[in-house]
């Protein structure tokens, strides 16, 4: 049998994953370094009966994705820093109206136009708090081409399951890198679809949640004739000014993610059992962290790595466990300390925190992490 191994770019793996997950609609607007996602989606989607549209701007792309999802189509958009900023209002809409969708952000340097083609990880906090108000969100960060494929599928599955926008937070390194991958066959892939109503139109309350805090979702065009709004609404889906109803809604939206944290949160760690120092990183930086850890281990230093795969919600519980035995966490990231802020909040004074930050448009090299750790040890 011929090997299934292929050379594939991260951005391409994202589209392959999306199609494997059942994506049937993509709306986007060109922006480096995410553009290949739109290009490849444009080529592949009509071949599987799906739809691609290049909208007039980023805002429209996000809006179209929500509209399409309401008809039952699994929908995605992809962008980068400035475009991610523009999408934020409608990401908030998707969070409030509980419309499943996947938003890919291939991070680049910023703020503003910044260094358009250079890697960065400056959107960690934007992914969490980019839109106004309290809202639920899930963000996943791949660190290889194969993981980009897997996490794109997972992004769709989580968004369908929890009726929440899921952000696939890539970075330029992973998006543009090509490497060897072997993709699984379709039968090996788990696909999750949104929960449908089991009652007819007369009984259907579009925002009445089940015990899992997730309401079943009808599609437009099926005869449910329901209303969707970005205003605070009650279980019927219609606007309400009732403080009690608004409070109930906002708390449920946050709680539905909190309640299912264990299902949502994933991380990877290596050599943490005996580690004095643990490098915390995500995405492209984790590749440098792995190299640094291996080289330091060769020198006899007890160094491990901790990589949040789900960055929002953050793998808080596990990090806290590690904090009880690790002396120092070294947070390496291509920004001036966004993950570090979260790590600091979690570990408090249980362990020491050191940072490796880079914002000059270049990748963090293993040597820079090694140098920082050698200062500590």
């Amino acid at each position: 049998m011929k090997s299934k191994a292929r050379l594939m770019q991260g951005n391409e793996a994202c589209v392959e994953g999306a199609i494997a997950a059942g994506m049937k609609f993509f709306a986007g607007y060109p922006i480096t370094p995410s553009t290949e996602i739109a290009e490849i989606a444009a080529e592949k989607l009509p071949r599987v009966g799906g739809k691609f549209i290049q909208m007039e701007d980023e805002i429209a792309s996000m809006a179209a994705v929500i509209g399409a999802s309401l008809t039952g189509s699994k929908s995605m958009t992809a962008t980068s820093g400035p475009g991610f900023s523009l999408k934020q209002e409608n990401i908030g809409y998707a969070a409030l109206a509980e419309v499943p969708c996947v938003v890919v952000d291939v991070q680049r340097s910023g703020p503003s136009t910044g260094l358009p083609t250079s890697p960065a990880q400056g959107d960690i906090m934007q992914a969490r708090w980019g839109t106004h108000g309290d809202h639920p969100v899930i963000a996943l960060t791949p660190s290889s081409v194969r993981e980009t494929f897997d996490l794109t599928i997972r992004a769709f599955n989580l968004s369908e399951k929890y009726r929440v926008p899921v952000i696939l937070l890539m970075d330029e390194i992973i998006g543009h890198m090509r490497e060897r991958v072997e993709l699984p066959d379709a039968f090996e892939i788990e696909i999750v679809n949104r929960k449908k109503p089991t009652v007819g139109r007369d009984q259907y309350l579009p925002y009445k949640a089940d015990e899992d805090l997730i309401p079943p979702m009808a599609n437009y065009g099926e005869g449910y004739r329901f209303h969707v709004t970005g205003l605070a609404h009650d279980e019927t889906g219609f606007p309400t000014n009732s403080p009690a109803m608004a409070d109930k809604l906002y708390r449920r939206l946050m709680d539905k993610i909190e309640m299912h944290k264990d299902d949502i949160i994933q991380w990877e760690e290596e050599n943490t059992d005996d580690a004095d120092v643990v490098i915390v990183s995500i995405g492209g930086v984790s590749r440098a962290a792995d190299t640094a850890m291996k080289q330091l281990r060769e020198k006899g230093y007890k160094v491990g790595t901790f990589r949040p795969i789900t960055v929002w919600p953050f793998p808080e519980k596990r990090l806290l466990e590690l904090a009880s035995k690790v002396k120092t966490f070294v947070v390496a990231e291509m920004n001036l300390g966004q993950i570090a802020l979260e790590v600091e909040r979690i570990i408090k004074d249980k362990a020491e925190l050191k940072k490796v930050n880079k914002v000059n448009g270049e990748a963090i090299y293993p040597e820079e992490i090694i140098a920082r750790i050698e200062e500590v040890l």
């Binding site: 071949r47 007039e56 429209a60 809006a63 929500i66 509209g67 399409a68 008809t71 039952g72």
Partner: protein
């Protein structure tokens, strides 16, 4: 017991509506349902989408699949709905500010694509929901709360804008000329492509009061007295058209529709 039409197409438990006394939006909303009724469209295959503003509250009262979105973005949301499920008849209800200020870009591009969406612009010449600021259709030198010394912006001619951008069906009527409005909406929905109908509304509360236009009744009378149907206008002298505005069907020139064209690509590729 409401009328048969209202009973059939409205969520009567949500009525009375929130609009001010004499607001023209109710007349236009009813006209849309009258057009849908005349066409005998399949009820569950209609999706009504709106943005933000007074007019955008209309879908909440209408018993279809309804989508009340973000300010200016109704047409962009509607584009996703229509692309993903072309079996749906998609109708956008929007206001002058929603459609031509914050949503202007989406409007012109939907016109350009000729996607099968019927957009009805409830034009009341003002931002009503936020309390009377001047909009892109506030007549020059008229006042708004943000134009206390008179508006120096030139107003958009929305149908001309839509026609130039590529909409294949374009018309204008008023809250007063309700029968014409109903027939324009009917024809707009029938047009397989992007249709825009400007429905001149009246806002007695903000625009009217600020500009001394009198009551809702006075404002409707003004519409009656100043509107000239385009079919009659060609026979009139420029002098007699002075100070008047045109209503009627301005453009009806079908062209290939966007989602059908995309379907052709899918069909071609799936045959390969």
């Amino acid at each position: 017991m409401p009328s048969a039409l209202v009973n059939e197409y409205f969520r009567t438990n949500k009525l009375p509506q929130i609009w001010c006394p004499g607001c023209g939006h109710g007349i236009i909303t009813r006209a849309i349902t009258a057009a849908i009724d005349k066409l005998g469209l399949e009820r569950d295959k209609i999706c009504i989408v709106s943005g933000i503003g007074c007019s955008s509250r209309a879908p909440g009262y209408m018993d279809f699949d309804t989508l009340h979105t973000t300010h200016g973005r109704a047409i962009a949301f509607a584009t996703g709905v229509k692309m993903a499920n072309p079996d749906l008849k998609v109708i956008v209800i929007t206001g002058d500010g929603d459609a031509t200020a914050i949503g202007g870009n989406h409007l012109i591009h939907a016109c350009r694509r000729n996607i099968d969406i019927t957009t009805i612009v409830f034009n009341n010449n003002i931002y009503g929901m936020t309390g009377g600021q001047y909009s892109p259709t506030t007549p020059k030198f008229d006042k708004g709360t943000t134009a206390p010394y008179g508006n120096i912006d030139k107003a958009f001619d929305i149908p001309a804008l839509a026609a130039a951008a590529g909409a294949t069906y374009v018309g204008r009527s008023t809250a007063y000329h309700t029968q014409l409005l109903i027939s324009l909406i009917e024809n707009g929905i029938k047009n397989e492509g992007f249709s825009l109908i400007e429905a001149l509304s009246v806002c007695p509360t903000y625009y009217g009061r600020k500009n001394k236009k009198g009551s809702a009744v006075d404002m409707l009378e003004w519409q009656k007295d100043h509107a000239v149907n385009i079919s009659a206008a060609s026979k009139m002298t420029p002098e007699s058209l002075e100070g008047k505005f045109l209503i009627g069907e301005f453009k009806n020139s079908p062209e290939p529709e966007y989602t059908s064209e995309y379907q052709k690509i899918i069909d071609r590729l799936c045959k390969e």
